[in-house]
Symmetry: C2
Subunit: 198 residues, 2 copies
DNA sequence: TCGCTATGTCAACCGCGGTTGACATAGCTC
DNA sequence: GAGCTATGTCAACCGCGGTTGACATAGCGA
């Protein structure tokens, strides 16, 4: 992660007074810390330090820890949005993506760790749910369309998340026939959800 | 919640002095609290209170918070749930379980929440990602059997985990037709994975 | 130049919660 | 009953960390 390239100037030449830059530095540091440590273990003082700012600025610019988390969560989702998938190849595309190695996209992985940690903390689970609804579920729902789109979007999102978790904890790359079977099975699962309810 | 049926006698008739009973009460309360709240959010005072004991006894009987967690983890594993699912109704059973929140305190689910929460806490993560594979992936693989069982177990586990996470962050119960559609979709996804690869 | 305000700094506050040791007492042995 | 030990109770300690408000100052407009 090439984070804080803009912050490294801190010791010798203190950053010029720039609220927006500081805000962004804090936000960036927050995303990393929350992703690495989870909501409870991430300390505002550490985040502020890494951002080259003071703790109290977090209150001023965001309001508090929970609000900062919400902002970071929101920001994490922003890159993900409303990609238009080809309906015909959707399942296989996703399945292939999940089968192949993850280290290409470190940023995406970090973002997901963020989500997973958020999901397993009682404090942040509601926040995540909210963000999920707006940023993730809603697009899927619209994309799905049809009768029971909201619920089916839930199921689709669940399956998708499951694959992400699996890929996150996978110890070795899938190769050869193994990979083929994985893709086939995963695509089948996705396809099954895509079919309109009977 | 119907837990601590054995502890409810506390106010009127204090439990007879019995080290082993107290130890077990603490252990039981710990398993529940750690599963519900995760390592960092679970408070020793709460655990002790629910067990009808004093905080300091935790130190005496276990040594500290981390040691208590380890003990709880160990104990969670000791009662193995090598539950044999009916192959015919497997998908629908799982799907229904995921749709309803009433099963939340069921042993198996509680144990898994325990794992999931533990795996996402930096304090306890290292041991547990491994444990998850041993305790979760291996049984599924054996249960599936057949040619490409290992990979298909991965996919099945992934889908399962996805549903679990979804339920973990779900804000309101699914009711009526919503619930039906959820079960149908989820079961379809699971069924798709259960089919041998083409 | 003179303020005024936005930005940044500092130190204290305060509760939470894990840890600790001193003390009380039940239940057993003699 | 006397005394001993295992068990349970109580209160305090202490650091961590989120929060807060008072203060300093850069940068800008008048």
């Amino acid at each position: 992660m090439g984070e804080s390239a803009t912050l490294r100037t801190a010791p010798s030449a203190p950053r010029k007074r720039d609220a927006e830059a500081t805000r962004l530095a804090i936000l960036g540091a927050a995303k990393i810390h929350f992703a690495r440590l989870g909501y409870e273990c991430a300390a505002l003082r550490d985040i502020a330090t890494e951002a080259g700012a003071d703790v109290s600025l977090i209150k001023r610019y965001f309001g508090g820890k929970e609000a900062l988390f919400a902002a970071a969560l929101n920001d994490s989702f922003s890159g993900n949005a409303a990609r238009d998938w080809n309906r015909e190849t959707f399942s296989r595309d996703i399945a292939t993506m999940m089968a192949d190695d993850t280290h290409v996209d470190e940023d995406r992985t970090l973002r997901f760790k963020f989500l997973l940690r958020a999901a397993t903390s009682p404090t942040t689970a509601p926040l995540l749910n909210l963000a999920m609804q707006e940023r993730f579920l809603a697009p899927i729902r619209d994309w799905l369309g049809g009768e029971c789109a909201p619920v089916r979007a839930r199921v689709l999102a669940a399956v998708y998340i499951g694959f992400l978790v699996e890929r996150l904890i996978r110890d070795r790359p899938l190769i050869g026939e193994e990979r083929e079977v994985f893709i086939a099975s995963a695509a089948a699962a996705l396809d099954a959800v895509l079919q309109p309810a009977p």
